[in-house]
């Protein structure tokens, strides 16, 4: 298929960017979106032009590195996939595809389609961990009974790969689905109870400090999340913060 791409080009974080049009030809419908971008970049390199910078790593939907806002949606029009898993069969011959970086004040553009998502790392550092003795006397995890329901819910929350699609999609650039998932995965397990009070308070405080917007419950994040993280995690985080506030 032959496509027209409208891509955000930005030299660096300080330079103003703009949309630039490119043509790509003979794209197979079996290619992933990133492979199509590779074809474009080869074309640009052969023509002596600067290739389009974009984030990628595992290319199997696990690492959370690939981003891109494709035709007005985070990770493109397919559901439950990252950009690396988005196939070109989702598009038609002759289509014009708009490709932009994830946009949020807390995700500044580094170059072209690459954004700085270290704000997520700082939120994790603020409380997204548990204290476990790993000096060789670690207790067998199976020795602690956990209900199947709680284990499943915690696992569902833990599938968040921190890609930032929730922030990119949210009309308010809110990070509450990400933080809700990270708070939930520990809040549901006995191992997470030791730091439960400080965790939610510190992670929410860091989230606010990073300049993310406020959740207004549109539910767009849940729809666009490649891992299907549920809004229930935001409700749980809200309950956890209320509980933590009363406890302290």
């Amino acid at each position: 298929m032959n496509l027209t791409l409208k891509i955000w080009r930005q030299k660096d974080s300080k330079t103003k960017g703009q949309m630039v049009d490119y043509k790509v030809t003979d794209i197979s419908e079996h290619m992933s979106f990133l492979e199509m971008m590779d074809v474009l970049n080869e074309q640009l390199i052969n023509a002596g032009e600067e290739p389009v910078a974009f984030d990628h790593d595992c290319r199997e939907g696990i690492c959370g590195m690939c981003s891109m806002y494709i035709n007005g949606e985070a990770h493109g029009p397919d559901r439950g996939v990252t950009t690396c898993q988005l196939h070109m069969r989702m598009f038609k011959d002759g289509d014009t595809i708009t490709i932009e970086p994830f946009r949020a004040k807390a995700f500044p553009v580094i170059k072209d389609l690459v954004v700085d998502r270290s704000s997520f790392d700082r939120i994790q550092h603020a409380g997204g961990y548990i204290s476990v003795n790993t000096s060789g006397n670690t207790q067998d995890a199976n020795a602690t009974p956990i209900s199947k329901h709680d284990a499943d819910e915690a696992m569902d929350a833990a599938t968040c790969i921190g890609c930032g699609a929730c922030v990119a999609t949210c009309k308010n650039s809110s990070a509450m689905l990400f933080v809700g998932a990270k708070v939930s995965q520990y809040a549901l397990l006995p191992q997470g109870q030791v730091e439960a009070t400080d965790r939610v308070k510190n992670m929410v405080a860091q989230m606010d400090l990073e300049g993310f917007g406020n959740c207004s419950n549109t539910g767009a994040c849940e729809i666009e999340c490649p891992k299907g993280i549920s809004l229930e995690n935001i409700a749980r985080m809200n309950r956890e913060l209320l509980k933590a506030t009363f406890k302290s």
Binding site: K6, W8, G17, M19, Y69, N71, G72, E73, P77, T98, E100, R103, A104, K105, A106, V109, T169, K171, N172, S173, S174, M176, K201, V204, A205, M207, D208, G211, F212, G213, N214, C215, S216, N217, T218, G219, A220, I223, E224, S230, L231, E232, I234, A235, R236, M237, N238, R239, L241, L242, T245
Partner: protein
């Protein structure tokens, strides 16, 4: 606790609580207004009670005014903050692919409701305060002293078709606001999804029935005057 209420989640709770209070007030307001369709006397009695009972006037009314002001002012503050959280806008954004129009445009439906409230205050609340607390007439009686004035005042306001039109339009926006606002208030309050489906169905019914009821009351008085 002060940190809680200045945090993003604390503000969500406060917005949700003020919304729940306003939705309860709306239900109570509707229950009294619907009396005007079936029994002018009952409407007059209920209105006089609400307008003169000290708990309503000096406790509930200030809470209501605070609730309304808080909901609007915080709504605007959050909207500004949210807009500032994305400096460069998307060239192409397909919002309808993942969210409802109502949820994305709460600020506009809210502004329409604010416009209606200004009209409503000029129509009813300011004359009421003037009669009772400036002129000192707490009797609730008509000028000629023949019965209560509340039903007369209500029906008189719905003579002008332009005002009725404005009321109908405002309640359409209120319905759109509640379509998202009702379930959103419970989600913000941390209500579990297990209870959410029934609440969402109840919320949709509330968002349609109550505004539609207000519209029908206005039309009833307009065509029966």
């Amino acid at each position: 606790m002060s940190k809680f209420f200045t945090s993003s989640i604390g503000r969500k709770y406060a917005m949700a609580l003020s919304a729940l209070f306003l939705m309860f007030f709306l239900l109570q307001h509707f229950a009294i207004n619907i009396l005007s369709v079936f029994s002018p006397n009952a409407f007059n009695e209920a209105s006089h009670f609400m307008g003169t009972f000290w708990v309503i006037q000096y406790v509930m009314q200030p809470i209501l005014i605070f609730g309304v002001m808080y909901h609007f002012i915080m709504g605007f503050i959050l909207e500004i903050k949210n807009r500032n959280a994305r400096v460069v806008k998307y060239a192409k954004n397909n919002g309808s692919a993942n969210s409802s129009w109502m949820s994305r445009n709460m600020i506009y439906s809210g502004l329409a409701i604010l416009g209606f409230l200004v009209l409503h205050f000029i129509d009813f609340w300011i004359p009421e305060i003037n009669t009772k607390y400036i002129q000192g007439d707490m009797s609730g009686l008509l000028v000629d002293g023949e019965g209560y004035r509340y039903y007369e005042e209500l029906t008189h306001k719905f003579v002008n078709p332009l005002r009725v039109g404005a009321y109908v339009l405002a309640f359409v926006f209120l319905s759109l606001h509640l379509m998202h606002g009702f379930s959103s208030a419970f989600q913000s309050s941390g209500v579990s999804s297990m209870r959410k489906e029934k609440l969402q169905a109840f919320g949709k019914a509330y968002a349609i029935i109550i505004p539609l009821g207000f519209i029908l009351i206005a039309l009833f008085h307009h065509f029966n005057h």
